[in-house]
Subunit: 201 residues, 2 copies
C-alpha cells in the first residue's frame, strides 16, 4: 500500500504482480499517458496502447509528435500508463483534445489530480483504476517512423475496489469504475458485462 | 456490397472508408487474425492488436512464434484482422487456445466458417462484425525481437447491422453483436453502454 497521505485513494491502492500487469490493459481500454521532466508535467489520452509481452511485461503506445507528453517521454525515458474510469470521462476527453503547448494550465482546467507512488518519481493521475509505470525500451526507428514507443513495465498498481487478486471486478464495483473505450468524436463505450467461455483454466 | 452468394451475411456487408477503418478497432476489442498460404488456413485470437495510424491506416498485432498463423503471415505477407462478436465467444476462445500444429482440424472443431471478400484472396471469418485486410509492412527487427507485426490496412468492411456510416451501433444492435474484450482465463467483457463526452465534434 502507498503511504502517500495526500492521496484520498491511498488506502485502496495495492501493487499488482508484474506477471499479471498485462491484465490491467488486456481488455483494450483507452488510457491516460503521463510524464514529467524538469518540473513540467503533462497528461494525454491514448486509445492506441496495447500489451506487448508478459515477462518482463512490456507495452506499446502511440505518441503523436505534436504532443508535449511525447517530448517529456523522450526527455525522461519514462511514463505512466493509467486506466481511467467512467467517472473521469470528461477529464479524459479534455486532456485528449487540448495540448499543453497551447494551454499551459491544461491539467488544472481538466481537473487532473496528480499523486505519487512508492519508489517512483513519476506523476500518477488520481482517481484511475490502475497504473503501470513504464521505462522506455529505446527503438528510435519505431519512434520516428511510427510514433510507436515500447515500454517495459517496472511497477503496477490498482485500486482494490475494482481490481484485486489479479482480476478486474467491474461486475461488483459501481458503474463509475468501468473502463472507457474511445471510438471517435467524443463517443466512448464503457466496459460491459462479464462472460466466461466456460473452459478457462 | 459483396456478391459472394455463399455468405449468408453478404447482403449486410458494406465497405468501410479506409480513413475510418481505425474506428473498427479503436475501442480495443479482442480480434481474430486469419491468414493462408499454399491452401493452409489458420485463425487465431489476439488481444494484442491496436491501431497505429489513420492514413494510410495501419495497425499492430502481436503474433507469437508458436502460432501457425504467424508462419502463414510470414509466408504470405498478408492477413485479416476481424472483430468477433459475443455470439462467437466460444469459437474465439477455442481458436485462441488450440494450435493448428497439434490440431489439424482446429477450424472445423471450433466452428469457423470462412468467406471471401471482393478483390481479395484472404480468408475472412464469417459472422464477425468487421474485417480489415492487412498487408505486411516489413520490420524484421520488430517481428523477431517483439513478435510485433505492422500491417497497412488495404480494405475494410463491416456488417451494417452493427457498424454503419462510420459508427458502431452497439446500442441498437442486439446484444449478440457486442465486441469481446478478453482478460485472462477464459474471461471476457462485452462492450458496454455508450457515453458521449458532450463536446465532441
Amino acid at each position: 500500500m502507498t503511504q502517500d497521505t495526500t492521496n484520498p485513494q491511498a488506502a485502496y491502492i495495492a501493487a499488482v504482480e508484474l506477471e499479471k500487469a498485462y491484465r490491467l490493459i488486456n481488455h483494450g481500454p483507452t488510457v491516460l499517458v503521463s510524464a514529467s521532466h524538469d518540473a513540467v508535467v503533462d497528461v494525454m489520452a491514448a486509445s492506441w496502447a496495447c500489451a506487448l509481452d508478459f515477462a518482463p511485461p512490456k507495452l506499446t503506445v502511440v505518441l503523436d509528435k505534436s504532443t508535449r507528453t511525447r517530448e517529456l517521454v523522450e526527455q525522461s525515458s519514462q511514463w505512466v500508463v493509467q486506466v481511467p474510469t467512467l467517472a473521469q470521462m470528461q477529464m479524459v476527453h479534455a486532456v485528449g483534445t487540448h495540448s499543453l503547448h497551447q494551454q499551459p494550465d491544461k491539467l488544472q482546467r481538466a481537473g487532473v489530480g496528480l499523486v505519487g507512488m512508492p519508489e517512483s518519481t513519476l506523476p500518477f493521475v488520481q482517481g484511475c483504476s490502475a497504473w503501470l509505470a513504464c521505462r522506455l525500451v529505446p527503438e528510435p526507428h519505431n519512434q520516428q517512423a511510427y510514433d510507436l514507443f515500447i515500454g517495459e513495465v517496472t511497477g503496477a498498481w490498482a485500486d482494490t475496489r475494482v481490481f484485486a487478486h489479479g482480476h478486474w471486478h467491474f461486475e461488483t464495483a459501481g458503474p463509475q469504475w468501468r473502463s472507457l473505450h474511445y471510438v471517435a468524436g467524443g463517443q466512448f463505450y464503457a466496459t460491459g458485462e462479464a462472460f466466461s467461455s466456460g473452459d478457462g483454466p
